[in-house]
């Protein structure tokens, strides 16, 4: 009796479900007095709708089946939207060819680039000056190229 009261007190004191569950499992489920304070299976059963009391009015299968049929119809439509395997392989072939062209183009451009660089580097080597005239007279000329630069400076002075 006093134990039941204590359990009730601690049940009300701590509203934490695991704790309450523990109290129920350890005491309430095994205590006839506490069980008497709860509705019995029979009493509850008289209030609830039971399986044998269910009268199936509307056949559920008809509704379920039509929904499933709609589902499979949608699946079929989705299947149609998806390309057939042959189309898919064509797509892959085109994509591969495009990629090949891109790579080839890149390599070709890359190959041309050093030549351009070489031609610019060769400019000073090919630089020639036949003569420079200042005031109708041949001038003294100095050709100067700074180190590590492609720039060429031509200085012309009047000859004495």
């Amino acid at each position: 009796m006093s134990l039941c009261k204590m359990v009730e007190f601690f049940y009300a004191l701590i509203p934490w479900k695991p704790w309450r569950g523990l109290l129920i499992r350890l005491h309430v489920e095994n205590c006839p007095r506490c069980q008497a304070g709860l509705a019995s299976r029979e009493a509850v059963g008289s209030l609830l709708v039971q399986e044998r009391g269910v009268d199936i009015g509307r056949p559920l299968w008809a509704g379920v089946e039509s929904a499933l049929r709609e589902d499979s119809g949608r699946e079929r439509m989705r299947g149609r939207a998806v390309q057939p395997p042959a189309m898919r392989s064509w797509g892959w072939a085109v994509a591969t060819a495009f990629l090949f062209v891109l790579i080839a183009g890149f390599l070709l451009l890359k190959d041309f680039r050093p030549e351009r660089a070489a031609s610019t580097a060769a400019v000073p080597a090919r630089f020639e000056l036949e003569y420079v005239l200042v005031g109708g007279q041949p001038a003294n000329t100095v050709v100067y190229q700074p180190q590590g630069s492609d720039m060429i400076i031509v200085w012309a002075g009047k000859s004495p």
């Binding site: 479900k17 309450r20 569950g21 009493a43 609830l48 009391g53 269910v54 199936i56 379920v64 929904a67």
Partner: protein, 182 residues
């Protein structure tokens, strides 16, 4: 036919096997749904949605779990969704200044009238408590099995069941007293 065979048949696309599952589970599912929702029409909607969901997600069913528990878990969630929807529409109607009834009784014009939960019982119990109580009475489930359906621990399921039984007892005693007083 064995349940696992029926499930395997459904997975192979055999509609007839699924029809057998639907027929097997209609009555217990309807009973559970009516006890949670309180009326037949909503219960029928919930059960129809349940079977559609079961068919669509049958591949995700774990064979190590009880199929019945899996079905009941889906049904329980469908019922909670319906209750939420019903509550929202009730609030909307209330805002509009009209009267509404939270739990509509079974349709009187229904060709197959069926008893629904007494409104008093429906009001004093939460959906989780009603589910726990129904599984305990109708299926003979224990706390761990109820917990599996409600997706909570056995301790929590024990608390729901305890509270529900306590409330029902109190309700029945009050009814008894009011009957004695005339």
């Amino acid at each position: 036919m064995d349940e696992q065979e029926l499930i395997a048949g459904c997975l192979r696309g055999r509609r007839e096997d699924f029809r057998m599952i639907v027929e097997r589970y209609t009555a217990p599912a309807m009973a559970l749904a009516m006890n949670i929702l309180g009326n037949r029409d909503d219960a029928e909607d919930a059960c129809q949605e349940l079977f559609i969901q079961v068919y669509r997600h049958l591949e995700s069913y774990d064979k190590d779990r009880s199929f019945k528990n899996w079905v009941y878990t889906i049904l329980y969630r469908r019922c909670l969704d319906l209750l939420k929807r019903r509550r929202r529409s009730a609030e909307l109607v209330k805002k509009m200044g009209r009267e509404t009834v939270l739990a509509t009784p079974a349709n009187p014009g229904h060709p197959h009238p069926s008893r629904s939960l007494p409104s008093g019982v429906l009001e004093i119990l939460k959906a989780k408590e009603r589910t726990a109580l129904c599984l305990w009475v109708n299926e003979g489930y224990t706390a761990p099995e109820i917990g599996e359906v409600l997706r909570c621990s056995a301790s929590t399921a024990r608390v729901y069941l305890f509270q529900a039984r306590k409330k029902i007892k109190k309700h029945l005693e009050q009814d008894h007293v009011s009957l004695q007083n005339g």
